[in-house]
Symmetry: C2
Subunit: 404 residues, 2 copies
């Protein structure tokens, strides 16, 4: 296993060398936790040394300019005013901060979809159960024909009681890009606030918050921006900021400072923590944008094309059709596995691929038949040969299952 992986994974050393990823693993799951380039980790290590050199000087004098500079780079990247952005450790925390700030009444309806990420669905259920509000689920089919299906299904569940809609920008299990700009417009025209869980979007597809114009939008920086773990952001529309409070109420609540909004004063300081991941976000954006000659547009296009090719390879190996059009995915592609794989659980199939074949890929349990999906990712360090290897292994496993 080690040798075959080493051969496959040595084909694209020009980009792999920027990461610390194990060469003995065919790593096709950038989507779950991202992967941080060595250069960005080095910048973070320097910041940590700077902190430990004089913690009071760091938090008292150096911390805010470093945080603001990184936020500024992020704002430019996202097409957002930096005044409207705060850092949070992950998108799930961003979703929780918004949900737990809002007050719902017993009659309110909180709308989401069956593609929503489990952690955030739990947060929605939590605030609903506390207030007596009702969670309404729009069931979007998968496989899926068109964006129109997504929009119609969601709008079809809107009622006069709908107070908030929680939507993924890109769904976690199924890798679908939701037409979020159109959804935000349609819903806000109906006076409904939209909380967008964009855990996977920034760095996978172009994000312009001025164009999307959501009510609330939270995304991870440690996934497709390749920042260190624990870096994410929350955007809140200016006029909604006074009612959104951080989960940890701290000094910002009664700070006498006036150079920033209460929103930023509160979110920027939630007790002593390691802030260096946040401070590396702009560095990660710059580094990743420098890898190919046409910058971020080129990087995202390249990753998209690679995952589309990877999907074709796997579909062809398993003799199946892709579940949605190319335009509906970014650099993650989810494929329903043939029913014969249902003899595995998602964990047992993952573990077999990993332990026996050295392949790291996400296997997703799904609610209806077929019960297993496979989700591949493509980041610049990946190569076509890796998907070919996965396709070959899946074909072998399917053959064994069919003939067993």
């Amino acid at each position: 296993m080690g040798t075959e992986n080493e051969i496959i994974n040595s084909i694209s050393p020009c980009f792999q060398r920027f990461w610390l990823l194990d060469r003995n693993i065919t790593f096709l799951n950038h989507g779950s936790f991202g992967a941080c380039p060595g250069h960005v980790l080095e910048v973070q290590a320097k910041l940590r040394s700077q902190l430990e050199n004089e913690p009071l000087r760091f938090f008292g004098r150096e911390w805010e300019p470093l945080l603001d500079a990184s936020r500024s780079g992020l704002g430019t990247f996202l097409g957002a005013d930096e005044e409207d952005l705060v850092f949070v450790p992950n998108a799930t925390t961003g979703v929780n901060a918004v949900l737990r700030s809002l007050r719902f009444a017993a009659d309110d309806e909180l709308l989401t979809t069956n593609h929503e990420y489990n952690a955030c669905r739990n947060a929605l259920d939590f605030v609903a159960s506390r207030s007596g509000a009702k969670v309404v689920v729009a069931n979007i089919p998968f496989p899926l024909r068109s964006h129109t299906q997504i929009i119609e299904t969601i709008l079809g569940k809107v009622t006069a009681k709908t107070r908030l809609v929680l939507l993924d920008h890109i769904t976690s299990q199924t890798g679908l890009i939701f037409p979020i700009q159109q959804l935000c417009r349609e819903l806000q025209q109906r006076n409904i606030n939209v909380l967008v869980d964009a855990a996977h979007a920034p760095g996978m597809i172009p994000v312009n918050l001025r164009e999307i114009d959501p009510t609330y939008y939270t995304g991870n920086c440690h996934k497709w921006l390749c920042a260190p773990k624990g870096a994410a952001f929350l955007y809140v529309k200016r006029e909604k900021q006074p009612e959104i409070r951080p989960l940890t109420i701290s000094h910002g609540a009664n700070s006498k400072l006036t150079h920033k909004s209460r929103f930023q004063l509160e979110f920027d300081w939630m007790g002593t923590d390691d802030p260096t991941a946040y401070m590396c976000v702009s560095e990660a954006i710059e580094f990743m944008g420098s890898l190919v000659s046409d910058g971020w547009d080129g990087l995202m296009q390249r990753n998209h094309e690679l995952v589309v090719q990877g999907r074709e390879i796997i579909c062809s190996a398993l003799d199946i059709l892709p579940p949605c059009s190319e335009e509906m995915i970014g650099s993650m592609a989810t494929i329903p596995l043939p029913k014969v794989f249902d003899k595995y659980t998602h964990m047992s199939l993952h573990d077999r691929l990993f332990d026996e074949f050295g392949i790291e890929v996400q296997i997703v349990p799904w609610e209806i038949e077929p019960k297993l999906l496979i989700r591949i990712s493509a980041q610049i360090y990946n190569t076509l040969e890796q998907y070919e290897y996965l396709g070959k292994v899946l074909r072998e496993l399917a053959f064994i299952l069919q003939t067993a």
Copy 2:
């Protein structure tokens, strides 16, 4: 300034060499953010490399044993069952998690003291304002004669409506050790729950949670245990755990796992974050306990004796009396500054000491006369000469102020 500091700070190189602290600074404020030894930071860096080597393997297989091992070491140190402990980034977040989990009614009284840390007081005010509950403040004098004053003042404010008492184990501004075991017993005998903010206690004084037996107890590991930034814990009494939920509701809320309590399943995973600071807590405990021959008892005793001597030096330099007995402080000592210093603000005095004399020490604004307090810390890397230098500088400043 550089030279004088270098001479003063080179006297105790045998312990200073374990830290990254700037030798040009007389660093007398371990209390605010702690300081992490280079060895512990190296262990953390290795864990981070391990994470980035294969993020899925790390979070899927390696994360839980590493987290549990560190929690186990912490449990032993705190005299607590590891089942009753979860990690949080800081004590303020621990306080918020408890407060925001509890439900208060409009008539309830939430009792605290005037020595309570501002951030946690804000959290208390927040939950009070949301529920209509009332915050009641017990005013404990400073200077202070005895522990009896603390107990009597707090118990004197208890009424039939008192639902919860939020107390510091060691106060932040005034460095006082509260008789927390006796307070917990007295209050719980009256059926009142006690939330202890022990931000400064673990590693400064012996903490045995079985003996203290609080309802809720949260403490920092990055202060006096010298763990990396962003490491703290929350203890919740077994029977209270089902009602305490993390601030970020995530996968744990509906996890099908049964090898841990819901309390731990929920708190252990609050979205993707850098978990390496938590994983270094047991390493930090072991490392710090190995520095002197008599382990943690010796270390804490040594730090206590050093700060008591430091306090004497400063009081003598300013010709004032210490505000409380030696037994009431650990390794932080707060001294009210003579009224002549009131011409400074806490920030302007801090900045003058830092910028002109290279001294890092906490200056605390206080509510009544005298309006400025100075808080010194003693960690093993500190030396008597550093307090002598501070005393000399303060005496000079007082002289200038008096003759101006």
